[in-house]
């Protein structure tokens, strides 16, 4: 396991400053600032269309922000090329599962290790001993993830044949296989049954406490959020409404107004 760096203890925090994202006249995000501290589980909640996923997409560089900056571990990643975000230690999952459907669970997870695969092109053509060693190392690393998430029964199944709940777990596993310091989970519990959601809550907690990974998640399931999140940011119409502990945010009148409509009286 020499090729893969061991998780460093001092996983850095994420600072988002005055972030704005406009598509023409549509303000998807307006002046949102927040900070995710190292080792924290931070949740973003808000009604549909609040701009939660857009924040994720700006952090992972799918979109260029119109203004503002994203700092991770003290480095500005606002202009990092999209495929290099993961080498900064940021991994993500997607709201609508984006797995490689024509590949097996194992290959999906192996793709999570893509950034550690130091394989020479000509070596790959000849299947050289060096490449074979790297592949075995990656496999050993992937097996750790498989064990953590109980994916062993599905190891060699194609994604197309898997039920939705398992796909969600595979996607989480694929993100973990990148050995991130910051994990972005976009609605990890959507479409899961209560039992699967409970497993997920344990896993998220384990990911933080055992692997030392900072977690930033977008989630609608408030019971999951209050169970695992340390702090919560509530967004509405692209703006940050309130930040605090789950209980604080839930009792904030502005948050209640955003969800239920304002009571003018």
């Amino acid at each position: 396991m020499t090729a893969i760096p061991v998780q460093s203890e001092s996983a850095g925090g994420l600072q988002v400053r005055d972030l704005a994202l406009r598509f023409g006249g549509v303000h998807a995000i307006r002046d949102v600032s927040f900070e995710v501290r190292p080792g924290e589980i931070f949740a973003i909640i808000g009604p549909n269309g609040a701009g939660k996923t857009s924040v994720f997409n700006v952090i992972t560089r799918v979109f260029d922000p119109s203004a503002g900056s994203v700092m991770f571990k003290g480095q500005d990643i606002t202009r990092t090329p999209r495929h290099q975000v993961v080498s900064q230690g940021i991994a993500r999952t997607f709201q609508n599962i984006e797995l490689f459907e024509g590949a097996t669970v194992l290959d999906n997870l192996m793709l999570g290790c893509h950034r550690f695969a130091q394989e020479n092109f000509w070596g790959q053509l000849l299947w050289s001993p060096a490449v074979r060693n790297t592949e075995a190392q990656l496999r050993a690393h992937v097996e750790d993830v498989i064990e953590l998430l109980d994916l062993a029964p599905h190891r060699n199944s194609l994604i197309t044949g898997l039920p939705y709940g398992v796909r969600k777990v595979v996607e989480l596993g694929r993100a973990l296989a990148t050995r991130p310091q910051l994990l972005l989970l976009d609605e990890p519990a959507s479409g899961l049954n209560p039992e699967e959601t409970r497993d997920l809550a344990f896993w998220i907690d384990d990911i933080r406490s055992d692997l030392g990974i900072t977690v930033l998640m977008v989630e609608h399931d408030m019971s999951l959020v209050s169970e695992v999140a340390d702090r919560v940011l509530c967004m509405n119409m692209g703006q940050a409404l309130s930040t605090g502990t789950p209980a604080q945010v839930q009792s904030d009148p502005r948050v209640i107004a955003a969800y239920l409509g304002a009571d003018e009286a």
Partner: protein, 358 residues
């Protein structure tokens, strides 16, 4: 019944894991090695041609089957490889150097096409590659000083290490060896990092980018590899046809290649070879069954195209996974006998992706 029982992480990547597989491939090798002495002359020539088509089909499979980029212009790469090889031979270069240079030139042309082409996908990419093929055909027709124009370009006999390889049997073995080499190299590439990344780019560009895969780079790389392999096949094809004309590399050839990879089963190298054999044998089969069809039908023009269409329609309806899919089912039937269940291969649910960004 057979269970995969891995005792090492390397087992999963091994190609011939079981004695039965080794036996099967050894038998296949034996048959292929003995074929020139067992088959009538005509069929030996046909088999060599099928090997060449298989290489071309493998080239397109890398692009279409693994990275999901459609190309309707692969006959252009065959043409570039064939003409480059013939020209280098006419300049007195040795066979091996000439064929490698032809490959390199085809790869460069692939790079030149790939760089702009990756900006579009799907139907638009098909259009771009189609236009490219038409363009190349015209260039070959007009650039008379190099290509001989529509009069054609004669191809020198293949001579390697003082051995004349133009004979029926020796050319057969040359093509067979080339196919085996290309196949093994591609199998290796596809089970390593690059092949996985190709599949990743095909199935979800958003996820691939988030995992650190340089999507544009891999798409271009697929174009280059595909062009190089197809150009290699073109160089061999030059010896098969012996006299190159631009019409020999028309759109129908491109379409045949697309048929090969689709009917073979997208995303499988085995499929590429099986597809090339099936489609490549259609003309010979038609001439065999012509006497049975009656005079009216047998005289019809375009019987081949009709059969191509028929085969495609049957496969799309009944076996969308192609010959490779059928092969896997037959294999599973025997491996799990007597517990085979049809539903194992039922098409899985696909969950709609409502929000796709690229």
């Amino acid at each position: 019944m057979r269970f995969d029982y891995d005792t090492s992480y390397r087992d999963g990547k091994r190609l011939l894991r079981y004695p039965s597989q080794k036996l099967a491939y050894a038998l296949l090798a034996l048959v292929l090695l003995a074929a020139p002495w067992l088959l009538p002359k005509y069929y030996v020539g046909e088999l060599s041609y099928l090997f060449i088509l298989s290489i071309a089909s493998l080239g397109l499979m890398v692009l279409s089957g693994y990275t999901g980029q459609v190309s309707l212009g692969h006959s252009a790469f065959l043409a570039v490889g064939a003409y480059a090889h013939a020209w280098f031979l006419s300049q007195g270069l040795p066979f091996a150097a000439s064929i490698l240079l032809a490959m390199a030139i085809s790869a460069l042309v692939g790079l030149a096409l790939g760089l702009p082409a990756i900006r579009v996908s799907g139907l638009y990419l098909a259009m771009v590659t189609l236009a490219f093929a038409i363009l190349i055909e015209h260039v070959l027709g007009r650039w008379k000083s190099v290509t001989g124009g529509f009069n054609g370009l004669p191809v020198a006999d293949p001579v390697m290490l003082g051995l004349d390889l133009s004979g029926l049997k020796s050319f057969y073995f040359l093509c067979l060896a080339c196919l085996v080499i290309v196949l093994v190299l591609l199998v290796n590439l596809m089970r390593g990092k690059t092949g996985r990344a190709f599949v990743g780019v095909r199935d979800s560009e958003a996820a691939a980018a988030s995992l650190g895969i340089w999507v544009a780079g891999h798409k271009v790389l697929a174009f280059v590899i595909s062009a190089a392999v197809t150009g290699f096949a073109g160089a061999l094809m030059a010896h098969h046809v012996r006299h190159l004309t631009p019409e020999g590399f028309n759109l129908l050839l491109s379409l045949e290649l697309v048929l090969m990879v689709t009917i073979g089963g997208l995303g499988s190298l085995r499929g590429a070879v099986l597809g090339a054999f099936l489609i490549g044998m259609v003309p010979a089969l038609i001439s065999q069954i012509k006497p049975l069809l009656g005079e009216r039908i047998a005289k019809q023009f375009g019987l081949e195209i009709f059969f191509f269409g028929l085969i495609l329609a049957v496969f799309v309806l009944y076996e969308p996974k192609g010959l490779n899919g059928r092969w896997l089912k037959i294999k599973a039937f025997f491996e799990t006998f007597p517990l085979y269940r049809k539903d194992v291969f039922r098409r899985g649910k696909t969950y709609m992706k409502s929000e796709r960004y690229r």
